[in-house]
């Protein structure tokens, strides 16, 4: 049962081949048996899942239908879930049972999805390896000595290991697409503002965006359809109708114009990944697409600009964790300043502290123009590159990551080296455009991801291209051995 996609589960439930209760029971047993190898869950909500599954079965029995009615999913542990630990992978949220649900959680629950638990992640979504979690690193099911990517590493590992058919994630600089690439999944970061951020614990508010990770583009379409839409509670959410992503899937690719940015194929890219990317290009050409080289000349400036904007926003967002209103508080504070400093010093991990300090410095008196304003100017140059490119092409295609999944611990000693792994994904967050990663084959038994970038609100087109590719290839069906 665990190999089924969301679409297959929907058919099985509709045809009464099994019930949501049976499916949930089976996956909970699988999580209990296999997750100790991966550490992908922070909390398993077994009792709640069983009652949600029974409720879904009752809704179906009373004549209701719906693609996600009874579908098992998991949430990245930065989506607030009422009454359930919401840790953001941090010690500072010890004991934090959220007093309300995130909008995304509400929407998926309303669609009938059954939540099996909360998934591990880099602390406050800061990382590309899922090694900065207070709850320990997550292992890549394709090779347990390697990282699954991050920050949505628990979501990726759980779906890749067939513990869940789909999960939510968030993407501030690549945190859906990069782990999807390293674990052979399909994942999409929507346009900024397409999915509500309400109840999503903020890292960098002008970059953060929620989205799904699943095994197929079709399943991502089903998830995103339920997740997307206007929410008055999120002041940056976009008030625009949601496209019919499912209907978009079947559109033929004849006439599709693909741009290959020359900057994505330069030094730093593992040549074996480059070959896999070009094989995808050939397959899409056979489906009727045309290809041209393009240039995104400001791509190289994206990482420096990101490491000003994201830490600056984080330093402000994370000031709410003060040891007073919720979460961890240090022992025996001698005064209020000691309470703040030790609660935060003991509660945050090393990477979070680094980014808070970089952001504090960048925003401090005398440095604001040189850092924050400069970074926002570069941000516009990056956006302008995309606006120009999308005059000539419909989608931009390239590798999702420059390298394969690396060994646990390999990049811990040099944060800057790890930051450079996000070179291909970060630009989409700075510009606010949607990006998707899909499986494109294997090198040395490790998955390779191809990234598709689209113009604003072109999620349907990206899902369409990935779905059509998945109709003529089977990379996305490969499962890691042992799972």
């Amino acid at each position: 049962m665990h190999h089924m996609t969301l679409a297959e589960i929907a058919r099985g439930l509709a045809d009464k081949q099994f019930s949501a209760e049976e499916l949930t029971r089976s996956l909970l047993a699988r999580i209990q048996q296999l997750d100790p190898q991966l550490n992908s869950f922070i909390t398993v909500t077994a009792d709640q899942a069983m009652s949600q599954a029974k409720a879904a079965d009752a809704r179906r029995a009373s004549g209701e239908s719906g693609a996600l009615l009874g579908a098992p999913i998991g949430h990245k542990d930065l989506f607030c879930t009422q009454g359930v630990l919401t840790s953001c992978g941090s010690k500072i949220l010890t004991g934090f049972k959220a007093p309300y649900n995130a909008t995304v959680v509400e929407k998926l629950a309303a669609a009938g999805a059954v939540t099996l638990g909360k998934l591990n992640m880099d602390e406050f979504a800061m990382g590309s390896a899922n090694e900065s979690s207070h709850y320990g690193p997550v292992k890549n099911p394709w090779d347990l000595t390697r990282v699954p990517g991050g920050s949505s590493g628990g979501s990726a590992a759980a779906v890749a290991a067939r513990l869940l058919p789909a999960a939510t994630g968030t993407d501030t600089g690549g945190s859906i697409r990069q782990p999807a690439a390293l674990t052979n999944l399909t994942g999409i970061k929507p346009t900024y503002g397409r999915v509500s951020r309400w109840g999503m614990i903020a890292y960098a508010s002008s970059l953060d965006q929620g989205g799904p990770l699943a095994r197929t583009a079709e399943d991502c379409a089903l998830m995103l359809h339920a997740m997307a839409g206007f929410d008055a509670k999120d002041s940056t959410c976009v008030d625009q109708p949601v496209d019919d992503y499912l209907a978009a899937l079947s559109q033929p690719l004849a006439g599709l114009r693909i741009g290959l940015p020359k900057e994505y194929f330069g030094a730093g890219l593992d040549a074996r990944i480059g070959e896999k990317v070009m094989a995808v290009v050939e397959a899409l050409k056979k489906l009727g697409a045309s290809v041209k080289e393009i240039s995104l000349p400001n791509m190289q400036h994206a990482i420096p600009a990101y490491y000003v904007i994201a830490p600056a926003e984080a330093s402000s967002n994370l000031s709410r964790f003060d040891g007073v209103r919720f979460g961890y508080r240090c022992e025996n504070p001698v005064n209020l300043e000691d309470l703040y400093k030790r609660s935060r010093g003991e509660g945050f991990g090393a990477e979070v502290k680094r980014r808070i300090m970089v952001g504090t410095y960048a925003l401090s008196a005398g440095y604001y123009d040189a850092y924050y304003i400069k970074a926002q100017q570069i941000r516009r140059l990056i956006k302008n590159d995309f606006v120009a490119a999308f005059n000539d092409v419909d989608v931009i295609l390239g590798p999702t990551t420059p390298n394969l999944a690396w060994k646990l611990g390999e990049k811990n000693s040099d944060p800057v080296a790890a930051y450079l792994e996000d070179i291909y994904t970060i630009t989409a967050n700075l510009a606010g455009i949607p990006g998707l990663s899909m499986p494109a084959g294997f090198v040395d038994g490790l998955p390779v991801g191809v990234q598709l970038l689209g113009n604003y609100f072109q999620e349907g087109r990206l899902l369409n291209v990935a779905h059509q590719y998945q109709q003529v290839t089977d990379w996305h069906t490969h499962a890691p051995s042992g799972f």
């Binding site: 004991g95 934090f96 007093p99 900024y192 503002g193 002008s206 002041s235 940056t236 976009v238 400001n298 400036h301 990482i303 420096p304 600009a305 490491y307 000003v308 330093s315 000031s319 209103r325 919720f326 979460g327 961890y328 508080r329 504070p333 005064n335 209020l336 300043e337 000691d338 703040y340 400093k341 030790r342 935060r344 010093g345 945050f348 090393a350 502290k353 808070i356 300090m357 970089v358 504090t360 410095y361 401090s364 850092y371 304003i373 400069k374 970074a375 926002q376 100017q377 570069i378 941000r379 516009r380 140059l381 956006k383 944060p415 800057v416 930051y419 700075l430 606010g432 455009i433 604003y456």
Partner: protein, 95 residues
């Protein structure tokens, strides 16, 4: 421009982050390495470029000035480290 130890201590104070004595040298080194990366920005000519704050150039939406939220003090205080009589407890501030 490399940060000195005293500057790192000042930034930590501004951010209300308690650093152990042992953390300061490695923090200083790492921050300098990150600032080295960030300083690559200075080579980019951004003369006359308007800063981009929101990807879609949206401005803050306004809503009607009406009470829409219920008082949830009990729910919020149930998860606080220390409360008494509906108040959050902190160490004494005024001597």
């Amino acid at each position: 421009m490399a940060l000195e130890r005293t500057e790192v201590e000042k930034i930590a104070h501004l951010a209300r982050l308690g650093l152990n004595e042992g953390e300061i040298p490695s923090t200083t080194e790492t921050l300098n390495s990150i600032l080295g990366l960030i300083d690559q920005m200075q080579a980019v000519d951004t003369t006359g470029i308007e800063p981009l704050a929101h990807p879609l150039e949206a401005t803050q939406r306004l809503r009607a000035d009406q009470v829409t939220e219920n008082n949830q003090r009990d729910a919020y205080q149930a998860i606080a480290p220390a409360v008494e009589n509906g108040l959050y407890l902190v160490p004494k501030v005024i001597e």
